[in-house]
């Protein structure tokens, strides 16, 4: 079952923060986050494994609450380069496949 992402779209000014949420109706083992620019392949940002860990990548970080089956991606002090569509992907225990949400379109303007 496809995870649900929210919001569907976000418009930010440079320097503003944003949070993108991802929730699933199934028990999760891992959550992936990717960013895709128009016409290009998705680029891996980070993966969070069962255990409630939080990860960071420059000014982008994420958390995973396995009990709530939710993950959030935090973008701080956004830059123009952050524009794109963000996808969360989820995997269940023992699974081999990543199922993606519908995506969140992020537009950062100067």
């Amino acid at each position: 079952q496809q995870p649900v992402q929210s919001p569907q779209a976000v418009i930010l000014r440079e320097g503003e923060d944003a949070v993108i949420n991802c929730s699933s109706s199934k028990a999760l083992y891992s959550v992936h986050w990717y960013r895709q620019k128009h016409g290009e392949a998705p680029v891996f940002l980070m993966i969070l494994l069962k255990g409630g860990e939080q990860k960071g990548h420059e000014k982008i970080s994420a958390s995973f609450n396995e009990k709530k089956q939710q993950s959030s991606l935090y973008l701080t002090a956004s830059q123009l380069s952050y524009s794109g569509t963000y996808f969360c992907g989820t995997e269940t225990t023992g699974g081999f496949k990543t199922i993606f949400g519908a995506g969140t379109r992020l537009f950062v303007k100067a």
Binding site: Q2, Y29, S30, H32, Y34, G39, E40, A41, P42, V43, F44, I47, L49, F87, G89, E91, G94, G95, F96, K97, T98, I99, F100, G101, A102, G103
Partner: protein
Amino acid sequence: SQTIHQWPATLVQPVGSPLSLECTVEGTSNPNLYWYRQAAGRGLQLLFYSVGIGQISSEVPQNLSASRPQDRQFILSSKKLLLSDSGFYLCAWSRRGNEKLFFGSGTQLSVL
């Protein structure tokens, strides 16, 4: 280092024609392989995945099929394309489950 090759980059095909998209991975062995499709402005839909040679799992019943004739080769096929098969097709690989996906550069397929 590992690389993934996917071709062609763009393809325009008439309705009813056959399709063959190929993807190869270099620099690793026994990867998990995946085909995703992305309709214009939409999300990534998993079509097929494979955890070994000759093993294919289909996620969505449709007009497509996949094969893995060699360890690092994954092929997406159709005997007769439909208009609804148009989209951006992405091949991807991972070392195993619950590890990051490495995507190919994609094939933009237009069925007219």
